[in-house]
Every structure is written in C-alpha cells, then in structure tokens.
Amino acid sequence: MTAGHATPTEPAPPVVEVLSATKTFADGTKALAPVDLSIRDGEFLTLIGPSGCGKSTLLKLVANLIEPTDGRLVWWRGGFDQVGEAGKKLAFVFQDATLMPWSRIEANVRLPLDLAGVPKSVSAPKVADALKRVGLDGFGDRYPRQLSGGMRMRVSIARALVTDPNLLLMDEPFGALDEFTRNKLDADLLALWWERKLTSVFVTHSIYEAVFLSTRVAVMAARPGRIFKVMEIDEPMPRDESFRESARFADLCRQLSAWLADASLPQRSSAMDPDA
C-alpha cells in the first residue's frame, strides 16, 4: 500500500487533503468557510460540533458526493478518478442504514462487490466474513425489515467493510441507538479499526464517543462551518472499558465539552456571517 512509497523516516502521505475548501449551496447557504484538513494515514479522526455546522457536508466533500464551491481536495496525492483502485478504496456509512429493502442482507452487503464486477465465487466468502465481523453471521438470508435498527446499522458497516476499504467515512452511524448498544458497537468498531489499521473519519454528537474512539478530534463551529479546535488523544490502543472509567477520560471529555460550548457561541464578528 502507501507504505511502499515512503521511506521509514518519512511519514506516510496524508490519505485525503482538504485544501481551503468551501461550500455554498445553491440556495445561498454558506455551509463551510474555507476548511483545511489533512486526514492522516491510519488515524481515527472524529468531527464533532453543533447541529448544522457542516460535518455531513465536509464528509460528503471527502467522499466526492458534492464538489467544493472553492478550494480543492486531494485523494492519495491525486484526483478522485483513481479512488477505488487497490489501496485507494473509500467506503461511506450513512446516518441511517440505507439498505435496499427488496434485497436480502447478503445481497445488500455484496452490492459494492457486485457493482465492481466481482464474481459471486469470490464475493460470497467476503460477504460471509464481513457479516461475521459485525456479529451477524446467520442473518444473511433475512430482509432488512426483519432486523432491529442496531442490526441494520451493523449490516451497513459490513457493507462498507466488504470492499476492504482504506478510508472509512461514518456519519453519525450510531446516532439513533441507545447508550448501551452504542457503547457496545463503539468497542466493536474500535477493535475492527485496530485490527485493520483502517483510516477512519467519524461524525458524532457524543463527546464520550469521540474521546473513546479517536486518535484526533476536530471540533467544528457553525455559521459559517469551520474547524474550531483540534484535540490529539494519544491514549494507547487498543482501548477498553477501563479507559472510559479513567480520570484522563473524564478530563478529556471536560476539555472537549468546554470547546464545544465555545464553538456553539454566536460569533462576534458579523463580517463572515451572512445571517447576522
């Protein structure tokens, strides 16, 4: 992969670079002020911020689902057309499970491989493996409506994992779940990330989730959306429940909470704020 190009002394190149990207929607909404962000190889980066601050917009820019109004993005030191090649695969887990209701779980998970023209003989074991990873082996022949919300979310994660992505983007994947299930899925996700060294960008509203999962947290502020502060969390991996109960965890949460409160304050300079 990317390690092949880099000499041991040189750090791995960033996976995605967002270079002064802005986004103004057709209706004039300024969703993002110029954002500069570099997604590092192997990191678990979390975006957190008040509702409407442009987290989803930023994630969609990175997935090339929308284009920046100004500025540009670089994927693996190149354009988006090479994304999808070996070592440069990207997967997106949406806020809701986004499964095809007419297809069985198996076929839903297999979709990215089917679309890439992978023959069934190759994709079938991969699908089984991905389902096993998210703890859903044996559910392959069910329909989405026969699963609970949390299970559907896990199917959606299995579908993202099945292509062996190098960059995993997740937009509030566990937002609709109860605290207990969420903690469980967080722990599973972290184990997966650790096992695969899979570069991840995660969006959440939960401070605890952000601190527990991330190697780096970017706090965003609204109107216009921008990156307000960045927190590095060098707590060693793998982390487990004892980290959640540690004093350090509480400190980090308090710090992040204070930053979030600042980020949510209305901006004083009205020059940049069209709605003021």
Binding site: A63, L90, A91, T98, M100, W102, S103, L111, L115, A116
Partner: protein, 266 residues
C-alpha cells in the same frame, strides 16, 4: 386453536359472503312481498334463472369483452411503462409530453369513442384503442413517479461505488418503482374493463358490437331486465377477478419486502 370467528382468513372471506347472502335474502323477500313486477326490478332468483337459461350467449359476450379488456390492459401497461421510461430519461421529453398525457386523461372516453369507432374500421381494434386510452394514464404517472422516487442515500451509495447507468437502473430504479408500478396495475386493470364496456356501449348503439355492454343494451330494448342484470353481474365479477389477480401479482412480487404487502405482525 383459535375460535373460528377470530381466524383472520375466515372473517375475511366469511363476513362479506354472509353480508352478501343476507342482502340477497332481503332483496328476494322484498320483491316477493311487494310483488314488484320483473320488468321493473327482478328478484335474485330471476337473475339466476336468466343466467342458467342464457349462459351460452352471455359467456360469449363476456369472452368478447374480456378479450378487449386484456388487450387494452396489455397495451396500456406496455405503452405506459415505455413512456414512463422515456420521461425519466429526459426532463425535456417529460415537460413536452406530460400535458398531452393529462389531456388524454381528462378527455371523457364517451366523447372520443364515436370518432375512433368511425375512424378505425375493425370494431375489435377500435374498442381496444378506446379502452387502452382510458387505462394508459395511471400506468404512465405511477411508473414515472416510481422511477423517480429513489432513496437519496441509496443513490449516493450507487454513485460512490461508481455504478453505471444500467446497473443503477436494474438494481435501484426498477426495484424502487415496483410498488408504484403494481399500484398502477390495479387501477389500470379496472379502467381497462370500464373503458371496454363504455366503448362497447358507444359502438353498440351503432349496432357494431357483441360484448356484455351490447347484451345490456339489447336486453334493455327487449325489456328482458333479468338478462340485463345477469350481464351486469358478469361485468362486476370480471372486475373483481381482475382486481384480485393484480393484488395477487403484487403480493407475489412485493410480499417479501414492501410495507404495503406485509401483514402486521402481532
């Protein structure tokens, strides 16, 4: 075991039958009690008698009407689906042609049927054209809406995986459209029958028909009211059977996944 009255299937079939039998009984009794003359309002037993006596011409007429109905339904589905596909391919095509589809819908078929029957020499073909025109619009509008109502998230998913047009159509658009398509089928099948009967009435007044509507007209002229009711009954039964057939098809295709076809779990 559940008591019989609580069994869902028993109630679904039994209750309407019971009501039907009750109504027939009241009807029969009322006609006998007030001695209503048969040329004013026949008893159920008169209608049954007429069916038993004239079953051969009546079934022949039913065959003619159903042939027109099914032909019209077939063309309506075929044309409607094709037009819907054209509409979703290009916004320009839809904008240019949709008003004419609406025009087709709002023009009463009785008003244009005489014209079509004069223009088209073959009566059978003329009737089919009329019935097709009646049944076409729901297929166009339903299938178009269906092909357009694709979940935004799934659309993004397909785009992210660089799905080509064909794959998106086959794996995403068509499955998304199916529930709407089947809803269209139900409406359209009923309308095809109505269209066929109406067109036969128009043609029948000119003496160029042989379907059930013609039977009704003839029976009316001859004051053979039980036979008129018998023909009416056959039309109603045919309509119900069409509906049941479409509902069954829909269940077969969507039963596994779509909300409309899933019986509530208790």
């Amino acid at each position: 075991m559940k008591p019989l009255i609580e069994s869902d299937r028993f109630v679904r079939v039994g209750a309407p039958l019971l009501i039907g039998a009750l109504l027939l009984g009241v009807w029969e009794y009322a006609c006998r009690h007030w001695a209503v003359p048969v040329y004013l309002f026949p008893k159920p037993s008169d209608i049954y008698g007429s069916l038993a006596k004239d079953w051969y011409p009546l079934l022949g007429a039913l065959y003619v009407t159903m042939k027109v109905t099914f032909q019209a339904f077939f063309f309506a589905v075929l044309l409607g689906t094709l037009i819907a596909f054209m509409f979703v391919q290009s916004r320009f095509i839809e904008i240019s042609f949709f008003p004419y589809a609406v025009l087709l819908q709002v023009t009463p078929i009785v008003a244009i049927a005489p014209l079509i029957i004069i223009l088209v020499k073959n009566t059978q073909v003329a009737l089919t054209v009329c019935a097709t025109l009646v049944a076409l619009f729901p297929m166009i509008s339903n299938t178009t809406i269906g092909l357009r109502s694709v979940d935004q998230g799934l659309q993004n998913l397909f785009r992210m995986n660089k799905a080509n047009r064909t794959a998106t159509l086959l794996r995403l658009r068509i499955p998304s459209a199916l529930p709407y398509f089947f809803a269209g089928l139900r409406i359209s099948s009923g309308l095809a029958l109505i269209g066929a009967v109406v067109a036969e009435f128009v043609a029948g007044t000119g003496g160029r028909s042989s379907g059930l509507a013609y039977e009704i007209l003839q029976a009316g002229f001859q004051l053979d009211i039980p036979r008129m009711f018998a023909a009416l009954l056959l039309i109603a039964v045919a309509g119900i059977l069409m509906f049941v057939l479409m509902a069954g098809l829909s269940k077969l295709a969507l039963g596994g996944w779509h909300e409309s076809e899933i019986t509530a779990e208790t």
